[in-house]
């Protein structure tokens, strides 16, 4: 493909943010001892792929788009890639018929005169052009990477929005003008990445039993893995409340608060587990029956409310 042009003084104007759009990068690890969580992209693999496709450095930030709906206008020429949940992408020129502004966009986000752009591949959005992300048919979170990175001021070393702690940039709103920076590495290494779409039915997740499996009945881990759990709508970047077979305790009393990690399946007295994601609390006082393998947390972060998660117990040695 053509060598990217020199790109400076550019920005993304937000016409509509969709249900939730936040700035994310690789997070702010290393401050857990101060009670500050790492945050960062909920699906790290999809985020990282997008950044590679536009040739950004590892520290650059992107937009995390939950359930599509984002509409942007380019200021300056931009190189963009959208990864993760496959949101239908349509591009139109601003100069098209003004009447089309009132035309309702279809569920797929297409406007008359718009043309499709590819997912999982870099494409140009030229000055004045509008990009619309429709509702993805599967998956939950799409990542919009722009060459140069999203250039909002970092907080505590990262541009990630932590929705639990309230640290980092606020969620995007209509009218925002989001600057694009110069945080690039080498040029894009590929024109398109053949990646599988997120599953649209049961999501299989590997779990390591513990650390507090001994707080539960002897067959509790078996119960956890026997039948799938449904993702409820009470789910966000902090965690996913799940519904399924109750996980009975084997002992009473409180657990002193202890360190938590993304992927932890924490079980309050109700017996229904919560799967913590990247904005999960740094410490917690309910026992964790098992922890999802870190690489599989990315896939959990693409499961929509109503989808099912099936857990499979593994031992850490088996993962090497």
């Amino acid at each position: 493909m053509d060598r990217p042009r020199d790109l400076t003084g550019r920005a993304l104007q937000v016409l509509a943010p969709g249900p939730l759009c936040t700035v994310q990068d690789r997070g702010r690890p290393g401050a857990a001892a101060l009670g500050i969580g790492a945050a960062g992209a909920a699906d790290r693999a999809s985020f990282a792929l997008g950044q590679r496709l536009v040739g950004n450095s590892a520290s650059a930030a992107a937009l995390e788009v939950t359930l599509g709906g984002l509409r942007l206008q380019a200021r300056g020429d931009l190189l963009i890639a959208v990864t993760g949940a496959p949101a239908p992408l349509s591009v139109r020129d601003q100069a098209q018929d003004e009447a089309q502004d009132e035309a309702p966009a279809g569920a797929r986000g297409d406007a008359p005169g718009a043309r499709a752009a590819p997912g999982n591949a870099p494409f140009y959005l030229l000055d004045g052009q509008e990009l619309t992300l429709g509702l993805p048919g599967r998956g939950l979170r799409s990542y919009l990477a722009v060459r140069g990175g999203i250039d909002v001021p970092p907080v505590l070393g990262s541009r990630s929005a932590d929705v639990l702690a309230g640290i980092g940039p606020p969620r995007l709103a209509a009218g925002d003008v989001v600057p694009v920076g110069t945080d690039v590495g080498e040029g894009p290494a590929a024109d398109v990445a053949p990646v599988p779409d997120p599953p649209d039915s049961v999501v299989e997740l590997r779990v390591v039993p513990g650390p507090r499996d001994d707080w539960f009945a002897a067959d509790a881990v078996e119960t956890l893995c026997a039948a799938p759990y449904e993702v409820t709508s009470d789910s966000d970047r902090v965690g996913m409340r799940l519904q399924g077979a109750s996980l009975a305790r084997a002992r009473d009393g409180e657990l002193p608060s202890e360190g938590m990690v993304p992927g932890a399946l924490q079980v309050p007295p109700s017996g229904q587990p919560t799967l913590f994601l990247v904005d999960g609390p740094v410490t917690g006082g309910y026992p964790v029956i098992a922890v999802v393998v870190r690489a599989d947390v990315d896939r959990a972060a693409q499961a929509r409310p109503g989808q099912q998660l099936r857990f499979r117990a593994v031992r850490p040695a088996a993962l090497r």
């Binding site: 001892a33 009670g35 922890v291």
Partner: protein
């Protein structure tokens, strides 16, 4: 010492007392075993976040078992005490005073006479769990947490004192409030109450 599995990128080390936690955390912060990225102490545990690409978890566990904790129980940071001015008029002050049998005046006198040290952080950015250098009654959490605790609330639970950095849900017993911002993103460092920092409360 028990070493518990915590997914494929961490280990949870459990011990019997807080001084043991602090002793181990001090050693591992100063000289982390190969593969350890982060050391997160809490009341009776130290979570070690690891990078298995650098060292397998089994090797980290071996290094953990060989660790001799430092004799120093409190990892004091040195420097001046942080002074926290408190308006001792918290919603639970009377109840706590009654439960402990001390009365409000005596409770406040003891709270302000003790020197407190931040043992560890958790729950929220800048929330430090403070332990005293002398006798102090253990106070249970509230049976029902509040959905909203005001920012700056000074609170008790178990053996600890704490200050809520911002408005949040909370289950601790509220004995007062401070105007001091214990967590401020515009300040460097943003967290006032970091592990090892020593604190004195005083009547505002």
């Amino acid at each position: 010492m028990r070493i518990l599995p915590c997914g494929d990128e961490a280990l949870l080390v459990e011990v019997d007392t807080l001084p043991e936690v602090l002793g181990l955390a001090a050693v591992w912060r100063a000289d982390p075993p190969a593969g350890v990225l982060e050391v997160v102490p809490a009341a009776r545990t130290v979570l070690l976040r690891c990078d298995p690409a650098r060292a397998p978890l089994a090797a980290v566990a071996d290094a953990v078992r060989r660790t001799a904790p430092t004799a120093a129980g409190r990892d004091a940071e040195g420097g001046e005490d942080v002074q926290i001015p408190v308006d001792y008029a918290g919603a639970d002050l009377a109840e706590v005073a009654r439960r402990t049998g001390l009365g409000e005046v005596e409770l406040v006198e003891r709270h302000t006479a003790l020197r407190w040290t931040v043992a560890f952080c958790g729950f929220a950015p800048g929330f430090g769990y403070l332990v005293p250098d002398g006798e102090w009654p253990s106070v249970p959490r509230r049976s029902e947490p509040r959905t909203k605790v005001p920012p700056g609330a000074v609170a008790l639970a178990g053996e600890y004192s704490g200050v809520y950095p911002r408005e949040s849900p909370g289950g601790w017993q509220l004995i007062g409030r401070t105007d001091l911002a214990v967590f401020d993103l515009d300040r460097d460092p943003p967290a006032l109450l970091r592990p090892g920092v020593q604190v004195r409360f005083r009547v505002a």
